[in-house]
Symmetry: C4
Subunit: 377 residues, 4 copies
């Protein structure tokens, strides 16, 4: 039953599945969507929606972090993004958006982002941004890369960050570099007082190692977005999300057993473009989803319909395009809670999740992780 | 041989098949199509064709229910559709069709349908519609949702409905709501004197539970129509029809054994766009097919070539687009019985079914359920 | 290893493969294409090429049957086609071609073919056509349908037919009709002095039954041509050619054993659009290939680039479109023997076959039937 | 686990995988790309990059062989190409490029290449070309076909070739021809003082036989390039590269054991269009990659953006189109070493490879051959 295949003599590979390859199978009594909860709690923080934002400047500004927080999710500021480097981040972003509207080619947009990204991180701007979120009363989260985690974290904590996200394309429990000491996440986390969410990972073993560092949550995937990110064609590394999330959930279960009760959350990041994909990610075992592109269609999104991830600004090997998505004239509230004006599955994202639970007879997300799945032939 | 795959650690999914994934395999003597029967009987009602209409306003009006009845099938009026809410349903539908012809966007068409659908069901209109069908001498059937079954059914019976269809996207033997008592289909059906067809379901277990309620027929699927319905992208719920029909047929067989002889009919609803798909659905074990979009191309169809299902008018989460299909200038008679003017497989739907039986050497539908199948690599 | 899958509870289907799904795998020493033979012999008739024409009016006229015979293949006249019904078949075909060039819709072309096909078969025309071929010195073959085999065959034999092809979409050893006696192929063939090629079939059992009728050759498939024939969407019957040919070759082997030495030829008909497909069909075990559309691109083809099969003219259920293919300005000689002006794989069809044998180290077709195959993931 | 399938009765085929079918799976600690090596050594020759050029005139001239050598790879001149036949090869190529720019059809371009290729190989030109490369100080390599290996090699050696490439579409240890003695590669190689790289092969057995001839390296594949080469549609021979490379690597391992230590290099040729594919080929066990089309986008490429392989000029059965790829305005240095101006995966090919090693925690290519792989469902 273990789905190993010999893809050549003496070499096996595991057959792996995308969210597109699977279907949710209702097989119980049904339920009204009014008697269903989509609540999620990590550490001391409780959210109405199992939603964390992918930390891209295209979606998250201090203002939108607040907006999403008020709507029930968790906005994550990129502490190494444009908001941390430019006092006039709004006009800097307007420049990117304007260039795209004027028909700039992708290489020009990438060059512009690289240039903007080459400015230094300014602690004063970062502190101000975080305070803006904090003052609104919503939970404050920020993302750092493994490379700059040690350097940036103290200031972030002083500024009031409540949840720290340590996120790179691929993050391991230990990173080897030439000149510096390797970042040892376990030591790093044990010194902190706030919960840490770390990733991305794509397999059981790395997920397990990250859980053992003391992380409160592990991110699965690296924000794969069809037509936008290109980690697969650039590096040969793709993450079939259904299998990856299921494997991380298995690590969560084994780690829970190993520790006699420490529950580490699994966050799915990437491969979700409609509400059905969100339902499938939870069905595979995710505790919450990390969304980027699906949120970029909102009127309030700083990218104004443009979407890219931080990999777009890599100085020698960009792995994200800068892509203009379709505009839908919806605000975050409608995007998350509906009503949807059409049948496309991209608006009322969490109303749809609630209904998926109802149609399959589950009353909360944790239960729904057990729903039956079929795989397409 | 059981086609279970481990799609991630500790999580199995069944490999499931669409009608497109399979082929019918002739392996016997051949037969003239003149010595073949496509007759179907459910309860006391006998039909020349194994055809039930999907209860959408785009296809079924009182007039077309009569027409399809006279041609050998069973038309099902949606008791919660526009014919039950608007005295001038014809002009109301003309408004939708006109808006589409004038190039209205999908969101506008959805909004229009939502608005029209928000009018109350009027028992007088419903009664009149049913009487129209009844007076013509064909079998009278109407569809109610599980939510309104209890409320609407008495009037429907009084008006003369002979077969009741209780149909929602996903219907279970028991539906849990907050304020109301759950609808218990078993109690509901046992109180009725007319046969009930209920669904949709997509797995063995739910099919079996519905059979145990006393239903005369169980609907498999929810009218999936490529490019129109979006239950898969909105809710993550897709129904690979070949597998779903085969599973329901297995439930029928086991239930037959369990009851010592009660035969519950299996109706396939969705995933069929050409006559070959109809043949495959029967080959998988369906006793009859429920067709929507394939009938919408007929000149008499109220939608005049537009197609949508009742899910288009959902107030917060529509799951059906309103789509203009190709016009073919055929009437229902030609559509069902031929001749076909071309090789597209969308006209002469049941002449083609008859020929499929003939080419594979079977003389009736029940036998044909055993024809050999191949699955595409 | 038997590739059976349970596609639903209690129902298995065999996984079946198209020629597109497989690759030929070279694994021996290589060979010059000059030391390779593509010769084929059935009964007393020897051919330089393993080529039989699909009996469509679009490709085969008396003249092109001669031309193909002289180039090493076997042209098969359709004894129920336009050449047998119209004294002025050339101008009748010119009408079809002209209508297509004038932009006639598919339904009009089908109607025109139906009308032309409704004229009666004239024995005088048929006799004259066959004599034309015979006088040229090439082998004379004609096709009849199972329905008209008994009626037409005596005249065909008198006119000089040397090989008889009894061909329908699906042909079985026994055909049941209401009014007539069933055609019993075994009795029919045993009364004849000429070798009979019969089909199409798509599975082992029907192939075996046809072999037992005394047929000299069995046709596998029904001339499936992508974009042209629609047996799959109309009837649900598709024929994955790799599997079907391999199965028929297994029947040939078992029948050879059963009879202590009678070798019945397997002819693959359909699913081949380039020379690589021809090589794959032989690699799967075909003794010869039956080609239609690939020959229609030749300058001499009566259809002048239009292609259709006889199923296009069915009065109530056409199963072939009338399609204009790309013109390539090549004659039959170049089409079959090269040189090819480009890398498209559609010219020099049998030079390519010769080279495929050479590259894989085989010196004749019978040996080449054992070449290694891989299947695409 | 052996992935054999019965594709028809009594006939098995191995399920085979393309590079597109697989993903690299990170599962270890990560590493800075600065502490990673992409060095490769074959015989006495050491290279910074595991890069060998496919010997096509579209990419390799004496000048570009030097350029690529200086950038860390190995340029291979085609000793039977235009540089060996025309003193004015630059203007001859300009003619091809010009014709393409003027909109010449494919058949015209093929005819032009056939004509140019019909000139005789001139030893003086060949000698001069090789000396040009030699004088620059980089390693000198040239390709001959099996047919002309015996004739051309002595002159090539005299001119200073250091590595000989014997390459045809499919090369076996022994080639049978009518008039000539078969080329026995083993005898041929044992007489030489320079290392020989030979191929292409596509299976374990042929790879093993080639290794036993004494070859220093074996080429897997025949330069398959999507949209350009058509060996699959012309001959039915396709090479799923992931499986083929893994199988050849298995032969390398077994041959190493058989000989007590002779390590024969595996070079992957074809099926790679982006840097991720290069990483996957190495991950499957290739020691180096042979690139054609991916290099043709460089400004210095003689084909100026046109790409074709030597199979384009075959006199009767061309198997390569002449295709204009997208221009990217990059030189070889940027193409190989970056920086990349965008996220397309086609620039900074080996910087990306280095990063793929880093992200998966490997420090050299040999280790990286063990990285985990997943296969797409």
């Amino acid at each position: 039953m273990r789905d190993l295949v010999e893809i050549g003599m003496g070499r096996t590979a595991r057959r792996s599945y995308d969210l597109d390859d699977i279907d949710i199978v209702p097989s119980r009594r049904t339920r009204s969507s009014k008697v269903v909860s989509t609540g999620w709690q990590i550490d001391a923080y409780r959210f109405d929606l199992p939603l964390v934002t992918h930390p891209t400047d295209a979606v998250v500004s201090p203002e939108t972090a607040v907006a999403i927080g008020k709507l029930g999710g968790l906005g994550v500021l990129n502490a190494e993004g444009l908001w941390a480097r430019h006092a006039d981040a709004h006009s800097v972003l307007a420049k990117v958006v304007g260039a795209a509207k004027d028909g700039a080619q992708e290489t020009e947009l990438v060059r512009l982002l690289q240039e903007l990204q080459s400015a230094s991180v300014r602690m004063d701007l970062l502190t101000e941004a975080i305070r803006t979120v904090r003052d609104s009363g919503v939970t404050v989260a920020a993302r750092v890369s493994p490379q700059h985690a040690a350097e940036l974290t103290p200031s972030l904590l002083r500024a009031g960050v409540e949840i720290l996200v340590v996120q790179g394309t691929i993050v391991s429990a230990e990173h080897v570099a030439r000149d510096d000491d390797p970042l040892n996440l376990k030591d790093f986390i044990s010194d902190l007082d706030v919960p840490v969410i770390a990733g991305g990972v794509s397999d059981y073993r790395t997920a397990m190692h990250l859980m053992r560092t003391g992380a409160a949550g592990v991110i699965v995937g690296h924000g794969y977005t069809p037509g936008v990110t290109s980690t697969d064609s650039v590096l040969g590394i793709g993450v079939p999300m259904a299998t990856a999330v299921i494997d991380a959930a298995a690590a969560r279960r084994d780690y829970l057993d190993e520790t006699g009760g420490r529950y580490v959350h699994v966050l799915a990041d990437g491969g979700m473009s409609c509400s059905g994909d969100i339902a499938k990610a939870i069905a595979c075992g995710a505790d919450a989803v990390m969304l980027g592109a699906p949120l970029a269609v909102a009127n309030e999104a700083p990218g104004q319909g443009l979407y890219w991830t931080s990999a777009a600004a890599h100085p020698s090997l960009p792995r994200s395009r800068v892509v203009a998505g379709p505009r839908r004239d919806v605000d975050f509230k409608t995007l998350l809670h509906g009503p949807s004006p059409d049948a496309e599955g991209v608006v009322n994202l969490f109303g749809a999740l609630r209904r998926a639970l109802a149609k399959t007879g589950y009353s909360d997300l944790k239960e729904f992780q057990k729903v039956g799945l079929a795989v397409r032939a």
